[in-house]
């Protein structure tokens, strides 16, 4: 083998050789395990699960986040999300139809890279889709599929709709051509939009010029925030530029035991970050902000090899304290701000600072710095190496929610626990957590507190 050989061609040839078929026994083994394996209610992997089981565990939330592209079946069959009204005849929004054109006529430029993202458009009604109450709007410009498409988060209704071939006929002009007829649009329907991106491309404005497909004109026009979430199962924003942002899914307001808004609770957390931060999680019960380099160094799945950031959890309750580290809320345990703050002070195995009262987003809050006591040895069954662990919190009102604790091999972990009283029995947990060293924790606190102090919880 020589340097002169074209290594790429060699690899193409060589890797084409070998086994190409999955053995039948493997199919059988997989399907057997699938038969016995229940699905998680949420795809979030249980963070830190391999390090220490329930101590710090963000587990499943109440229900599945169902996102699809579909609405066609709903328009035909009337099966809309239960949170939303039933379908109504589609009124005509202020859309000027334009003549249909074939995809080949419209394609004069590729989709610009800066558009090739998922875009979060907030919640607003979509009358043309039969949605008169606000629903979350997201668009995906997917260069692999060659489509721009609408993802109706609250709609779980079947085949994709409005799958459109994008092109840029002129600077700032986006042309979308429906690739195949569906219940909302006809094949070849052309829509023209003026698009504008903010500096750095975090925000996209689409202004309708004309669209032969009324429904598309209604849902595509608007202002959208870029989502570049590292975890493809999540629609978090990923790395962001300095500025103010809102959460898409975190449901901070629903009280324990209440119906959590699993399909979007847009804007319930607003925050301001400097450059260099990323939104690495956005789920109904959790939201994470971490330095971008930390996100880059961790796996995309949501697992973490290191923790260093701001971790927000809704509906806080006290975790059961037992040797099995049962991953559940204490029956009858505290759920109020004062009760949870006192609980933290009295937890065996913790060194806790005196709580400091403060206000976050206009809400009463307390702040406590914690570490595991040097003489604490109690661990959890799944803690690798049997390192000391103290379970702290569990989502209140459900046995399937998140869990949070402290404990890391080498006892290097420090946390700042900020509890925010959203309602008398609905406390939000904000954890500033670093697992590497006390000095890194101090750096985190210095960088993260201005962000936490910017938190708002709009109604």
């Amino acid at each position: 083998m020589t340097r002169e050989r074209d290594i790429e061609r060699v690899l193409d040839t060589w890797l084409a050789e070998g086994a190409m078929e999955m053995p039948d026994r493997l199919y059988v083994a997989v399907l057997d395990r699938v038969e016995r394996q229940p699905q998680r209610l949420s795809a979030r992997l249980q963070l830190r699960f391999s390090q220490m089981r329930p101590a710090i565990r963000i587990a499943a939330v109440a229900a599945v986040l169902l996102l699809t592209l579909g609405v066609g079946a709903a328009v035909v069959g009337g099966a809309f999300d239960s949170d939303a009204p039933g379908p109504t005849p589609a009124p005509s929004p202020a859309v000027s139809p334009s003549p249909a054109a074939s995809p080949s006529e419209s394609a004069s430029a590729d989709l610009p890279d800066e558009l090739a993202h998922i875009w979060i458009g907030g919640e607003r009604p979509a009358p043309a889709l039969g949605m008169t109450l606000p629903v979350l709007h997201t668009l995906t410009f997917d260069p692999e599929l060659g489509f721009a498409r609408y993802v109706g988060v609250q709609l779980d209704l079947g085949p994709s709709i409005m799958a459109s071939e994008p092109s840029v006929p002129s600077d700032g002009r986006l042309r979308l051509t429906i690739a195949g007829a569906d219940a909302t649009c006809q094949a070849g329907d052309v829509g023209d939009y003026d698009y504008r991106l903010s500096d750095g491309g975090m925000t996209m404005s689409l202004t309708l010029v004309s669209d032969a497909c009324q429904a598309r004109g209604e849902v595509f026009a608007g202002t959208f925030t870029r989502s570049s979430c590292k975890n493809p199962a999540d629609y978090c924003l990923g790395e962001v530029l300095a500025g103010s942002y809102v959460s898409t899914f975190l449901d901070a307001r629903t009280a324990p035991g209440g119906p959590v808004r699993n399909r979007g609770a847009y804007g319930q957390l607003r925050y301001t970050v400097p450059d260099g931060w990323a939104n690495s999680e956005d789920w109904p019960d959790s939201h994470a902000l971490e330095p971008a380099d930390v996100v880059a160094s961790n796996p995309a799945s949501g697992d973490r090899e290191t923790w260093h950031g701001i971790y927000v959890h809704s509906r806080t309750g006290a975790a059961i304290q037992d040797e099995e580290c049962t991953d559940a809320e204490q029956p009858g345990g505290p759920r109020t701000l004062d009760g949870l703050t006192a609980y933290l002070q009295g937890l065996p195995g913790l060194e806790a600072s005196d709580p400091v009262e403060l206000t976050i987003g206009g809400y009463r809050a307390t702040m406590t710095d914690i570490a595991i006591a040097a003489d604490w040895t109690q661990t959890c069954p799944d803690a690798v190496g049997g390192h000391p662990v103290v379970p702290l919190f569990h989502e209140a009102g459900t046995d399937q929610g998140w869990g949070w604790g402290i404990g890391w091999p080498g006892n290097t972990e420090r946390q700042r626990v900020i509890l925010v009283e959203i309602a008398p029995e609905n406390v939000l947990h904000i954890g500033l957590d670093d697992t590497s060293s006390p000095s890194r924790f101090d750096e985190l606190v210095e960088a993260a507190m201005p962000i936490v102090e910017s938190f708002e919880f709009p109604d």
Partner: protein, 183 residues
């Protein structure tokens, strides 16, 4: 339609998931087998990836990303499995070889031997990258989605992987003995 199967499986339909596994199993197995180059480990990695995929499928928000997501799970399983590999203590003695020049479209037994040794010396992450590119035929943008890194990073890592493969082959061609066939 696969998308419908993904949606159904996401909702807990095991039959739908079995159909998805049947249509993708060969490809997944082929990818894993090439990354790991060991049948037992390949089967473990594929099985783990498919069971994890079933378990976590309800949280996959966009069904159209199922394949990229599944590939990512598979690559993770392969990397985990590769890192579990026990390093062999045995010394492997390779006789000096006077390798005849081969044409570009012909790989001799000696070529394959060299390639295999060179490939096994690469870290599993680089092996995965090469397999996704040269076996699965994914473009850098597609690999980027699988690995969760920017496309530019994939191109850069591919360049490094090619360079590492070349270097491994060159080193192998120069050596008469290697110690500890490791992966």
């Amino acid at each position: 339609m696969d998308r419908d199967l993904v949606v159904a499986a996401r909702g807990g339909d095991r039959e739908a998931y079995a159909d998805l596994v049947r249509t993708r199993g060969d490809r997944l197995f082929g990818i894993a087998q090439r990354i790991l180059r060991d049948v037992d480990r390949t089967e473990d990695a594929v099985q783990d990836a498919l069971v994890i995929a079933w378990r976590d499928l309800p949280g996959l928000r966009d069904p159209d990303r199922f394949d990229a997501w599944l590939h990512r799970l598979l690559v993770r399983s392969c990397i985990t499995e590769a890192k579990r590999e026990r390093r062999l203590a045995a010394n492997v003695r390779i006789l000096p070889m006077d390798i005849p020049a081969a044409t570009d479209d012909f790989l001799s037994v000696a070529d394959r031997d060299q390639l295999d040794r060179g490939f096994r010396r690469l870290p599993p992450e680089q092996r995965a990258l090469l397999v996704l590119r040269h076996f699965a035929g994914l473009e850098p943008t597609e690999i980027a989605e699988v690995l969760g890194v920017p496309a530019g990073t994939v191109r850069s890592r591919l360049h490094h992987a090619h360079r590492a493969m070349r270097a491994a082959l060159d080193a192998d061609a120069r050596s008469t003995t290697i110690t500890g066939a490791t992966a």
